[in-house]
Symmetry: C2
Subunit: 329 residues, 2 copies
């Protein structure tokens, strides 16, 4: 498929298609005709040749739920290192977990002729699924396993299972769980199920595990949820939290209640926030390799760009993790 | 100055200038001729009209020293919120403190027709000064006060002075300092001078203050520098650190040496890392308003874009700070 094929199908000149692709001036009628053909055929220009011709550097779009967070910072740093090595620029969109903004960025970035898009996944919705399916450029999703899309994600379920297993090994028997919204499959569903798997394997009833869902991954929410669980289950002897930040809040509530973390109650988080290694006792947690997640996602995207849209099998990659066993267990 | 003025001066057609500005196909000869005129006149196209014509969303370039760090995350989140409200996309470059990459991004972003650039400032070099002067689009610098450039920065010197003053108020007399490279004026020079100002005002000789320069703002470096200072000045009773992360490392070294932070030795950092509020004792520090720094920088840039290059006075804005007095003092 070449520019002149597109031109013939749209009934316009090759120069018009070229202007369309480069964002040059064009009548609305011609723009619409070309747009329809490009949509229908899934045509993507050879971006390397385009760079040579125009002097522009190609861009990759990155859509993130919250660029202020530590894990997102690590993932984007990983993406940036790979893109930089291949002389791509990063067009960054920050959604603040707003689904409309996420869809808006997907559209705007395609309009701005990005070569491809990396989406730091959060919630999966039918609208997002449709938008990803309609995307005219290759997409790689990180942090979530979305159907039929290239993904780089962490094995949240197995990691949470092993973390809870370690807590059980320390003799904890009445383990409770502070989780996150189940609209987020990786952090909400997979981590909860992993903890329940461990309880079931130990002959405890995982379905009956007392649990609560925090509204945001903040210390304040961790503290509030822990206070509530302490009222509901005063004899609890272990707490697994969906993230380290939530666990720091839980730690505060446990201290206020006169409980001694690492002694009469075990505590664990997920994410290996660097602060957890400095606490006394240190916070047991799961280390994911977030920078490598970003690097891997960028490498897969760049490979898809080199293959230039030939529809090979969809790559879905899961990266390992490490249990950080510290004094809080 | 219009496209047809540029066309006349370059001896080409208006359509050629338009193609140049939109990155369309063009002979190298014409491109060079137009480029020379655009450089000479400092011409910038009306980007809003351009968006209407091409369907593309305008982009603002953001160049950051290290997108994995907490403060950079906050600044970029602030920038993103303002750009998003005005429907600009953010083109992000991560330099990892590499001066060549910083210059490379400045060039590449202009080639990609960003409307303006926000540079999260680190080191000031003659090359950077020249590149900023030659920049064809408006630039705003954050975190540093660079001459003749719009800036949004923190009052590092006054903040460090007040922080050290608080430590003196706690009766500390033999204060030492762990600083950063003086190639970075804000964190390297200004913070050190602020601490020395406080000592001088208290009748202690600030010039004689024992100090050491860490090679990176990491816990490991903070720990190493603290160990060295403990050997050089075993009777020290107060430590001010250039950042919180460095202070966390210093805290570790002090503990290992059997010193009790907040009791026989005072400790303070700068930056209000959220981990500092969770420690026991809490880490005294300076809170800067980094998200607001980003927002303010974006607002100034957008205002410059609206004024469309009319050379008004250069805005340099300093934002306030807050001393967070906690148990470690």
């Amino acid at each position: 498929m070449t520019i002149s094929d597109i031109a013939k199908m749209a009934g316009v000149s090759s120069a018009a298609v070229s202007r369309y692709l480069n964002g040059g001036p064009l009548s609305e009628q011609k723009r619409a005709a070309i747009h329809e053909v490009v949509e229908k055929t899934g045509y993507r220009p050879d971006t390397a040749a385009q760079t040579l011709r125009t002097g522009k550097v190609n861009q990759v779009g990155v859509i993130a739920p919250s660029i202020g967070s530590q894990s997102v910072g690590q993932i984007t740093a990983g993406i940036a290192s790979e893109l930089d090595a291949k002389s791509y620029l990063m067009l960054l969109g920050n959604t603040e977990l707003d689904a409309q903004r996420e869809l808006g960025y997907l559209t705007a970035m395609q309009r701005n002729h990005v070569a491809g898009i990396i989406l730091l996944g959060s919630y999966y919705t039918p609208q997002l699924a449709q938008a990803l399916k309609n995307c005219r450029v290759p997409v790689v999703v990180t942090g979530q396993r979305f159907q039929d899309v290239a993904c780089v994600y962490n094995d949240d379920r197995t990691a949470a299972r092993e973390l809870a297993q370690r807590m059980l090994d320390h003799g904890r028997k009445r383990i409770v769980y502070i989780g996150g919204t189940e609209r987020d499959d990786a952090t909400g569903v997979q981590r909860r199920e992993g903890v329940q798997d461990a309880l079931n394997a130990a002959g405890l009833n995982g379905e009956q595990m007392p649990r609560i869902c925090c509204n945001a991954f903040t210390m304040e929410e961790g503290q509030r949820c822990m206070q509530e669980l302490l009222v509901r289950c005063p004899d609890l002897d272990g707490v697994v939290c969906v993230t380290d930040t939530v666990a720091f809040g839980a730690m505060r509530a446990l201290r206020e209640a006169g409980r001694h973390v690492g002694q009469d109650v075990g505590l664990a988080g997920v994410g290996d926030s660097w602060a957890g290694s400095m606490m006394e006792p240190g916070l047991a947690t799961v280390r994911f390799y977030q920078k490598q997640v970003g690097q891997e996602a960028a490498r897969i995207l760049l490979q898809m760009l080199e293959e230039n849209g030939s529809s090979g099998p969809v790559r879905q990659v899961t990266l390992g993790y490490q249990i950080m066993e510290r004094g809080s267990l």
